[in-house]
Amino acid sequence: MTNCREHDAALDDVAAGAAANIDFATHLRTCAGCAAELERRRALLARIDEVTRALMNVSLSADIVVHVDRPQPWRIAVVGAVLAAALVVLFVAGHVLRGPVSGQTVVTWQSPTADLLRPTESVLDTRAL
């Protein structure tokens, strides 16, 4: 018959859920003291587990609120209108404020010579004099 002291470590192992080996299982069947000790340790561990669960039984003070913007149809319309208006303003402002760019032809200058030199019907006919 084995000594009870030899099984002390096995008592903790089995109390914590491990399977008893053949030697210890045989001892348990014949030793009421060790069987009672095993039950005591199991009960203690169950109490520890219960307190641990209670320790983790914390709850949120309030539900988490999902702060995510939903795309609202009216919001899309308003944003679209504002963007369109902004584009129009930018387009107009660009044309009004933008001066002539150097190198760009603003007016084509033509010499008046050609028009002035072209004979017209109102030219005085000297032969009639």
Partner: protein
């Protein structure tokens, strides 16, 4: 985001907020910080929702985000660090409820103290396994370790608690 998708996300937040909160609490040991992290977790999740390939993994995914954010906060927030240290020697208001549930205020405080004194890896597994919604497979995914490692750490931790509290 389409309205259906938004409603679906809101539903997922409702379903998983408590789990994420408790995971954050297990790391931070402070309810206010855990709430902040929970809020931040779902905002991050919303931003990165497209990166989630398997919608069925949403819970594990947000749990991982929550744990990572909680760890970041723990590392960078000196105030949280002081609170964690203070938690080993003081009883927070929540402990009153714990005592009520355990029917033994002194015993509850001893358990809390014993958990605090566990090595970090063992403490983490003990606290996560106490969250009712998480099984070993969930914990393994959250901690990104094999499920067998979760079991062995939990076994070691419970034995250590048993020895500490059986004195």
């Amino acid at each position: 985001m389409k309205t259906d998708e938004h409603a679906d996300f809101e539903h997922r937040v409702q379903e998983n907020q408590r789990t994420v909160y408790r995971i954050a609490y297990s790391v931070l040991r402070n309810q206010e910080d855990a709430e902040d992290v929970t809020q931040e977790t779902f905002l991050r999740a919303h931003e990165k929702l497209a990166a989630l390939r398997d919608p069925a993994r949403f819970r594990t995914w947000v749990a991982q985000i929550g744990r990572r954010l909680a760890l970041n906060r723990l590392r960078t927030n000196a105030r949280a660090r002081r609170r964690e240290q203070a938690a080993t020697s003081s009883v927070e208001p929540q402990a009153i409820d714990i005592a009520g549930i355990a029917e033994d205020r002194v015993f509850a405080e001893r358990v809390r103290s014993a958990i605090d004194r566990l090595p970090g890896k063992l403490r983490e597994v003990v606290m996560l396994s106490a969250i009712e919604d998480l099984d070993h497979a969930d914990i393994a995914r959250v901690l990104q370790i094999p499920e067998g490692t979760v079991r062995s750490r939990l076994h070691l931790a419970r034995k250590q608690l048993l020895r500490t509290l059986d004195q």
